[in-house]
Every structure is written in structure tokens, then in C-alpha cells.
Symmetry: C3
Subunit: 299 residues, 3 copies
């Protein structure tokens, strides 16, 4: 059993294998697949989620797995049980892979050290990492461009609080893409900028092959940002006018859920250059590859 | 893919086909059915539900489908995601039919215009429509009486706030039944009475072949009605004495959940003339037919 | 269909059969098992649970069943529907076995009298009974010791509020084991002590073949006990020092979830003598046997 903590643990050959397996499943999966028939996966989401949560559930079921959906509110977590004891309990009743989203990145990391008896997949850990998002982003770009060498990827918005950007830096570097970040000064991040350059938004729009807009987390920063959502949209939102500045062949991405009218205009979400909903479709194939790896790999 | 918005969109031949398919499933379904094996249905219930919710889940699973249960509280809806983006997300990860209950009837209607990429089934929309309830009511009556021509159906209770009565008017008319409504003055509805006559409760009881009691929605009207639940029961409740006034062969129906001792007496719920729990059983076969239609029909 | 209300209803031969069937499933179950394919189980948990809840779900799915997970908060229970009507509704849409945890023991007992149309399995009823826990405890001990005649089982802790101890008294007696209880004076129970002797904690530790530590229900008694959790641990907790007092070959059990550092020390939970997580694994096989019995037994 192999855990997935972050993309940083994955070598280039491992990344290539994951992409190949994602493509394999996309091309060859058929209803009635029994790849992991009778084996159990558990989804433990300690934060709200739609796309990651259901993307994993579809991936598990397409592989023939049985799925346990753990909800903290109605479980022994409500009685103070530790995360380790909860996951060890699930492993004890037969769960072989646990998909976990938790607000505290330490919680997931500690768990991998404690070894509760099943494979662990990180489905988003605070601001720290979101490896399957980075993998589906990578898969989406490779499907679009083939070779990523020299391709420019601009990530725009709340860099500081993004678990997506951190996980993407490593994977894109392995494939020879050049990342840059942009966005308001208040959302810049020193640590990230040690690795990738900050550029003005206009430069990002004009030079990038991929413009990845990040979600403004209104629910976390509403004191600071909610009153200026309109202002944010005018300055850093991907409006129709700004989308017209993109290079020919450039694509628009977003990890979702989108704030329509804030970081991206309503009508740009399904722009011809947008791959936002394709990303979600690709996420299922990528997660099938990740689960397959967790349960022992291709053979 | 065909949406189901309301019964009004269904022609007589379409209604007949749905009833035939419901009967087909009731007679021929066997465990291990793979009719839609490996295809995904999602249930999105934005209001509490037991019978509709689980009736659909059983219907989906009996057809061999995989089921995604969406709970608004722990999803990106909590982060402000629109209904369209949520359903489009589910469609993007592979969901082919979405069953939706929402308090706002406009929400469902808008969705059908926006076309999020999967078939949409209305599982109850505010006071507006509840088409699968009307279909299971119709199926229950046809199983009981065969030809409905000239049969009298009395719907009694909170006509104004009922999504059931509106959806039933059209289907019963197509099959030649005569509907009437009854209940307290405060719950009468002008729009409904343009289509069907209002009669006193005693007349309804003595002339109807079907007495359909509606739920008093205590949770919505508790200021007005809760203090007078006993009074309601005495005047408009189906007591054992009132049930004795029914014509020979007449049946009692109720969409559930029942308020025992309010609109219907405790001991009348399972009266020999009651078809209340049969309605629920019939609902599964009817919903299998509706899902089959949504996914492309019989062939 | 056979209900499971409490262990007291089970004769010695019935207990032996359940253990044999648990062992059968442990030895012979393979992925793809279709024992009850296409039949529906429903899990209704009106109190939080992790191990019992998911143990049942895994057991049901390993038997090939389809599973309905009922959550009171988003169901018609929120509209005031009775437990009987809820379960009768589930039975009407096709559920053949309902697994129920409820805080009110009368609620489950009443239901068995009302006969809602499906088999009923008690998954924990207030302080009254928790029969499948007692059965998995029994199975764990029989796997450990073979013949239980003369074996000494010490149950330690909150005897008064334990649904586990009451269900265990009967089963252990049938197999010739000798139970004793221990713990703080404030948690002793007159009714239990009419059946089994109370002994000092030190004596329990030194003479028992099985030390079963009970959960201190901090969530129920926090006024009285939370301030003295440390004190409780010192006096009645199974510390490493106290675990060293156990007889050679003695084992440690706990129904879970554990309060690490209260009734049991952190490092003792996975002590070589601990069978705490084995209990959970065994619980799945035992519950498969219980479900099989509910649906008509071995043949």
C-alpha cells in the first residue's frame, strides 16, 4: 500500500506512470469493471467538498470498489475519537484505502507516520497540499499540449492560502513548464515566490499558455474581501475583456468551486478556451490511477 | 436524455407508457438486474425527505445504477456554489441523471433551461409540482380500478400549499377521472378551484372512489394550526367514523409523511381500505420507469 | 425474518450457530459474494457511531446487499414522523432488514411489537442492550481461548450506564465464563450486582483472563467526571503498570471508542495483549452471521 501525501514525493517516472494509467482508464474503462471488486474505500471529508469528494466516489465505484462515506458529525469523532483511532477502526473493519480531507495539514501527516493499516490519500490538507488536484491539472495540460516543455502557466489570485499552487509547482517543474504567479499584493506569498516569479496580471494574461484562476475564499476572508468583491473582479477577475487578451491557443483553468463574478466572470466559465469542467472529468481518471497506485500499482 | 419537470409535459401516450413500464418492472425485476449497470445517478435533496429520497435510491439501485447522495450541508453549496455549477460538476464527473428536490420551484426550472449535462428529474419543487408522486398515485389507482373513467378522486386538506394536487390534476384528467377538493376555507386555492370543484368534506367522503388526505404541514404553519391540531382532526381529519362513511370499494390515500391524529386517525392509516403503504411500494416501480425514460426510454 | 433485540433471547444452540457462521464467513468470504444480492438493508443511527455503523455497512455489502443509510436530520423524522412510520416506509420501498441504534430502548422494543414489515436488528439501545457487541466480544474470546468454561471476565468502569455489560452477562454465562465487575463506587449498579460480583480493581487485574475496560462517557457525565479525568485514570485506568499486573495469557478488550489517557493509557491500546482492534475486525463476521439469521438463517 502506498500513501499519497503530496506531489513532491512523486518522481518524474511515477508521474508519467500515473498519467499513463489515467489515460488507460479514460480509454478502456467500461461499466461492470471489477478491478478492485469487493475491496473497500472510505471517504473522510472534514471540510465541505463537492468535486473532490464525488470525483473520488465515482473513481472508486468505477474500479468496482465498495464505498464507505464517513461524516464527522454523526460519528464517534463527535465523541472525541482521534483521527488515528477513526481510520484504524475503518481499516479494522476492512477499509483498504482512506481518502482524507482535513483542515489541519499536520493531522494527515501524523497519520502517515502512525500507519493505521490502510493506504492514505490526501484529498486536500489545509493550505498545505492537494496532490490529486495538481495531478488532474497536469493531466489536463498534457492532454491539451502534449509536451509541456517551455509552456507558461500563470496562477492568479490568493496564492498565500492556496493548497493547489504548492502542489502544482513540483509537477509542472518535472514536466518542464514555467510557472508564474500573480494577484493582489495582500495575497502574495514569500515562500512561493522563492520558487516562481511574480508578474503583473496583464503580463500573465498576455504571456501564459495556461491561466489558472484561483478561488477567492470569501468564506475565510469575508471581513477583508467581501465588501470589495466587485473591486477584486475589476482588478484581478478574468472578465470577458481580459480573456480576449489571452494568446491564441491558451486555456483557462480553475480548481473550483468558482465564485462567478469575482475571480472569473459568469460568461467566461464556459468560454471556448475554458477547461474548467474538463478538469473535473479528468479528475476521475486521475483518481482511479491514484487509487490503483495506493492498492499496489498496475500489476 | 429527457427531463421530468411536471406531469403537465406528459401526453396520454407517454403516461400510458410509463404505467406499462412500471408494471413491467414490478412483474419482471429480479435481483442482479444490470439495466443501467455502471451508470451514475445523483440524489440532491435540499429539503428533508424519507420516502421520495429512498424510493429513488432503491429504484436506481434496482436498475443496477451507482448512486451518489449529495448533501448540501457538507458540499460546496456551503461555499456558495450555484445549483447549476453543482449539477454541472456532478455531470462532469459522470452523473447521467440528477434527482432534485428544492424548496424554490424556479431553481429547478432554471436548471432545465441551463442544461447542465445530465437528465433532470423533479422530486418535489416547493408548492409547484411533484410529478413522480402524481405518477405513483395514478399507478396505485389504475392497479385498484383498472379503467379510471368517471372515478371520483377527492383531495382533502391543505390544497393551497400542496405540490401533490397540482401534479395530479393533469394526470387524472388524462385518464378520465373526476377530481374534487375539500378542506378548511383557509387552505382553499383559487387557482386550483378554476380547474376542479370544491365540495364539503361530508360530500367528498360519501361520493369519492379515492379519498386522498393531504399532510397538514405543521412545520410550515405552526403559528396558525398547531394550537388547533385537535380541532383540525375533528373537522377535517379522517377519523374511524368518517372512514365508515366511504362508499364500498373506495380507497384511502396519502402522500406521506402522515401526521397521525391530525389529518388522519392513527388507526385509519392501516385501515383495510388504506393504500398508503402500497403507494410507497408502487413508487419504486414508477420511479424505475421515470429513470428509464430519462436515460433514453425503452428502446 | 428474525429480529435481534438482545442476547437474552438467544439460546445456547443459537449462540453456537451464530459463532459457527461468523467463523464460516471469516474463513470463506471472498469478494463478489452474492449471498443476498439485490436485497436491501437500511442503517438507522439516531446516535453517533463509527465502528458499529460501518461494521454493519461492511457486513451488508460483503453479503452482496444494497445499503440505504438513513440520517434522521435530513429525513421526515425532522417533520415529526414516528419511528414506526419511518421503518414501515423503508420496508414498503423494499428494505428487508433494518439496523437501528436509538437512545430510547423503548423505541426499539415497541417497534418489534408493531412489526413494520422487515427484520429488526438492535445496534445499541440506550443503556439497555447492545447484542452484536456482546456477540463479537464472545467470538473474540472463543477465538482466543476455545472453551470459555471457568474463564474469568472482568468488566471495569461505568457499569451503570453500559449497554455492553448487560448484553454480555447472558452470553458469557451460557458459555460457562465467570463475570465480575469493578470500577468507581459512583458507577456501580445494583441490578448488575445481583447477577455478578463486584471486586476491587486490583483483584480484577490479577485474576481475570479478560479485562474489558468500558468507555467513560465524558460526553454524558462531563460535569461530574471531566475535571477528574486524570484522577479516574490514576485510580481506574489501565495504565502500563496496571497492564503488567495481568495474568500471563490474559487479554485486554474495549468496546470503543476509547478515551486514550482516561480509562486506558495511550500506549496500552495497542499492547500485545490488546484485542481492541481485533474486536472490530471480528465484529464484521459476527454481524454477517446476525444479518444472515435475520434474513432466514443458513438454509
Amino acid at each position: 500500500m502506498k500513501n499519497l501525501v503530496d506531489t513532491k514525493q512523486l518522481s518524474k517516472p511515477e508521474l508519467v506512470t500515473l498519467l499513463e494509467r489515467a489515460r488507460y482508464w479514460e480509454e478502456h474503462w467500461r461499466p461492470g469493471c471489477k478491478r478492485f471488486q469487493g475491496q473497500f474505500a472510505a471517504n473522510l471529508f472534514f471540510e465541505p467538498s463537492t468535486r473532490t469528494r464525488f470525483s473520488f466516489e465515482v473513481a472508486e465505484k468505477r474500479l468496482g470498489m465498495e464505498v464507505i462515506n464517513f461524516t464527522p458529525e454523526v460519528s464517534s469523532t463527535a465523541k472525541g475519537e482521534t483521527l488515528y483511532d477513526t481510520v484504524k477502526t475503518l481499516a479494522s473493519v476492512g477499509v483498504e484505502v482512506a481518502v482524507i480531507r482535513h483542515s489541519d495539514p499536520e493531522a494527515f501527516l501524523n497519520l502517515t507516520v502512525q500507519e493505521p493499516g490502510c493506504a492514505l490519500i490526501n484529498a486536500g490538507a489545509g493550505c498545505y497540499a492537494h496532490p490529486t488536484q495538481a495531478l488532474l491539472d497536469l493531466y489536463t495540460m498534457v492532454k491539451q499540449f502534449g509536451d509541456l516543455t517551455g509552456k507558461k502557466v500563470a496562477v492568479v489570485g490568493d496564492i498565500r492560502h492556496s493548497r493547489v499552487v504548492r502542489s502544482n509547482i513540483w509537477t509542472l517543474k518535472q514536466f518542464g513548464a514555467e510557472m508564474m504567479v500573480s494577484g493582489p499584493a495582500s495575497m502574495r506569498d514569500d515562500e512561493v515566490e522563492k520558487m516562481v516569479p511574480y508578474v503583473p496580471f496583464a503580463e500573465a494574461l498576455q504571456t501564459a499558455d495556461v491561466v489558472m484562476m484561483l478561488r477567492v475564499q470569501l468564506e475565510r476572508h469575508h471581513q477583508k474581501l467581501f465588501s470589495s468583491a466587485t473591486e477584486y473582479h475589476q482588478q484581478y477577475g478574468l472578465t470577458r475583456e481580459k480573456a480576449a487578451m489571452l494568446k491564441p491557443g491558451a486555456i483557462i483553468m480553475h480548481p473550483g468551486p468558482v465564485n462567478r463574478g469575482v475571480e472569473i466572470a459568469d460568461e467566461v466559465v464556459e468560454h471556448p478556451s475554458s477547461r474548467i469542467f474538463d478538469q473535473m472529468t479528468n479528475g476521475v481518471w486521475v483518481r482511479m490511477a491514484v487509487i490503483e497506485r495506493a492498492l499496489g500499482g498496475v500489476n
